[in-house]
Amino acid sequence: MRAVFLGSLILLTILSVIAWRLQPTDSADGRVTLVWVSDDNPARREQIALFHALYPQYRVQLDPSNGGVEKVIVQSLGGVGPDLFDCYDGFQLSAYVRSGVAWDITEELPRLGVDINALWEPLRSYALYEGRIFGFGTNISADAIWYNKDIFDAEGVPYPKGPWKWDAFVKLAQRMTRRDASGRVIRFGFLCDWWNWLHFAYQWGGRIYTPDGTRCIVDSPENIAAVQFLHDLIYRYRVMPGPVEEAAMATQGGWGSGTITRFGAGKAAMALGGRWWLCTLRSYRNLRLGVAESPHARYRIFRAYGKATLINRYSPRRYEALRFLAYQASQAYNDLINRQADGIGPVARYAYTEAFLHNPAHPEEDQNHVWREAVAHSISDQVSPFVSGQVAMRILSRQLDLVKNNQKSPAEALRTAARQINAEIARTLEQDPVLRARYHALAGISSGAGRR
């Protein structure tokens, strides 16, 4: 028995030595390695390659598998965080700032000649938190209507063109929906990701919080009407798939979400999506694409979304990481993003060029002005300092799931969500004296908004 244990111990020790030897060594060629947590796709690799070409003393290593706010924060606090990480909305930014992981670069960034005001206006809320700078934009998007030219040609319907309104859109979408003899839809008129509901909410005039962020007003009549319209697209007008039909269309492989691949496979005539879909759709050889401005409701505004890259405050290479943010402000980077169609580059002025409108490698993409116009008319999501964005999103997405599954009316669902989020705000205030003081100051100024 001693022999067995001793033998095992020796064997394991040998294995440990092997395992230790197999650890990848830090780049021995003297370059500074920066680990960047971002999603992986072919466009990202080109962006890194260009950075390497411009700054050979750096090596950026992409880490797509440690995304997610929770992982980045916990790992950074634990001392094994990345150097750079992406922040996908104002909610996340507040989580990163509040946990102390995001590095305040209000002093450092301008020293590199980077002007935060060069960013597209909606993108500033991804990098600015209460007037302090924490990062720089990576790219930005606002959605428009993709349409499949072949389907329109086959139906003999003229291509859509904006600006237009949703009622005109519904008629067109109904015209483009095809059913078989049993009434089963074989091709939908429209596809839209459900989490895009804010695109609709803003157009109807809805907001998540009061302007000072003290109260959640997601149950306002405007928001309810917007979500009701989204629900109607599935259950009343029947131009968009419900959850079960979506599951039936599940697709395999390829980059991007299910909606993109479904649209690419010709399962719908139109879809609401961003310019970045091209990163996937360009590889569909036989797909002829058109773009039209998204229809609007009361307001002709669109929801902006994008991301910013932030720096880990605990990173020993944080000063080197600044170089990467400066790179994102450069024309070389912006032109690359615009060429790749990975959204639109973060700096607005580089989109107002001839090169942006006409990419010689893709002459068929002659509607780039639509995207620029959409971003120019876009607004970004609100953040409340008084509630964790994670919590608010969890509550909202659960309620909206119920609406999507036709189990709850939009009014009921949003009312529940508002009640729950306001309860979370109350709870945050109970626990946090600093926020409580701020809340009372704000609530005093904005009369009525701070009702508790």
């Binding site: 028995m1 197999l22 606090l77 094994v80 979400s257």
Partner: protein, 271 residues
């Protein structure tokens, strides 16, 4: 005649159930050999048999590295668990000391503690000890098992105490009794514990998920998720990877199942 019919019915029932446990595995095997476009087709057989899916797994993710990590971590945990549990079990089963029964009851009580209770403090402990993202962080917290102590104590109690007394009369120390008398006789128990520990740890999902960050330290259950991510779902490769993943377990089980069965019975019935 009635007996024949009864036996036929018996085999029929057993075989039917065996089919339900086996069918998903066959489906897994068949899916792992399909081209990507056919994964969601209901037709069970691929139009072309893609044996190179298995090779694709090795190309697309550092499968060998994950495999090594899974086996390496599980092996260390198994070794440490067996050693420490056996020693503790010896103290509980063979030595007389104050508080023995009290401490033993405490051990038993912790079998009821849900994993999530210790998870958060253990995680912060790992942060404090700088063991995030390391092999040690994966191995050490799992290497001390109350269950193992309990199981081996039950085994040791079945070994006649007269044997150690005889050895002690011949001048053996407790340490020698432990190694030369008790442990060899408790071999089935040790094998059982080793199997349980290995299987349990080999498939563990949560702890590596939160603890490991670096690519080169990832274990298979985490690494395989690559084939189920929002970017590029490839169920055929996922199935190929998981079949390769469970292959060692199946071999282990087939080889050592008589010990496993005995161990399960020991641990429970005598408890």
């Amino acid at each position: 005649m009635a007996r024949m019919a009864r036996m036929a019915l018996l085999y029929l029932l057993l075989t039917l159930f065996a089919i339900t446990t086996l069918a998903p595995f066959l489906w897994m095997v068949l899916t792992s050999l399909k081209p990507l476009e056919e994964v969601e087709r209901l037709h069970p057989f691929p139009s072309t048999w893609r044996f190179d899916n298995y090779q694709q797994v090795l190309v697309q993710i550092p499968f060998a590295r994950y495999y090594f990590n899974s086996l390496f971590v599980a092996a260390w945990v198994t070794f440490l668990t067996c050693l420490t549990s056996a020693m503790a079990a010896f103290a509980f089963a063979r030595l007389r000391w104050r508080f023995r029964d009290g401490v033993f009851r405490l051990y038993l009580a912790t079998l009821m503690v849900p994993g999530v209770v210790t998870m958060i403090p253990n995680y912060t402990l790992m942060v404090k000890l700088q063991l995030l993202d390391s092999y040690a962080g994966l191995i050490v917290p799992s290497a001390f098992s109350a269950f193992g102590t309990f199981l081996l104590r039950q085994f040791f109690l079945t070994i006649p105490a007269a044997l150690d007394e005889a050895a002690e009369i011949d001048g053996a120390s407790k340490w020698q009794v432990f190694w030369d008398v008790v442990l060899p006789l408790a071999r089935p128990g040790l094998i059982t514990l080793a199997l349980f520990t290995f299987m349990g740890n080999y498939g563990s999902f949560f702890w590596p998920l939160v603890l490991i960050k670096s690519e080169h330290l990832r274990t298979l259950p985490i690494g395989m998720l690559f084939f189920d991510s929002t970017y590029g779902r490839q169920t055929n490769l996922l199935m190929a990877a998981s079949l390769m993943n469970i292959a060692p377990l199946i071999v282990l089980f087939v080889v050592a199942q008589k010990f496993l069965v005995r161990g399960i019975q020991m641990g429970a019935v005598k408890g």
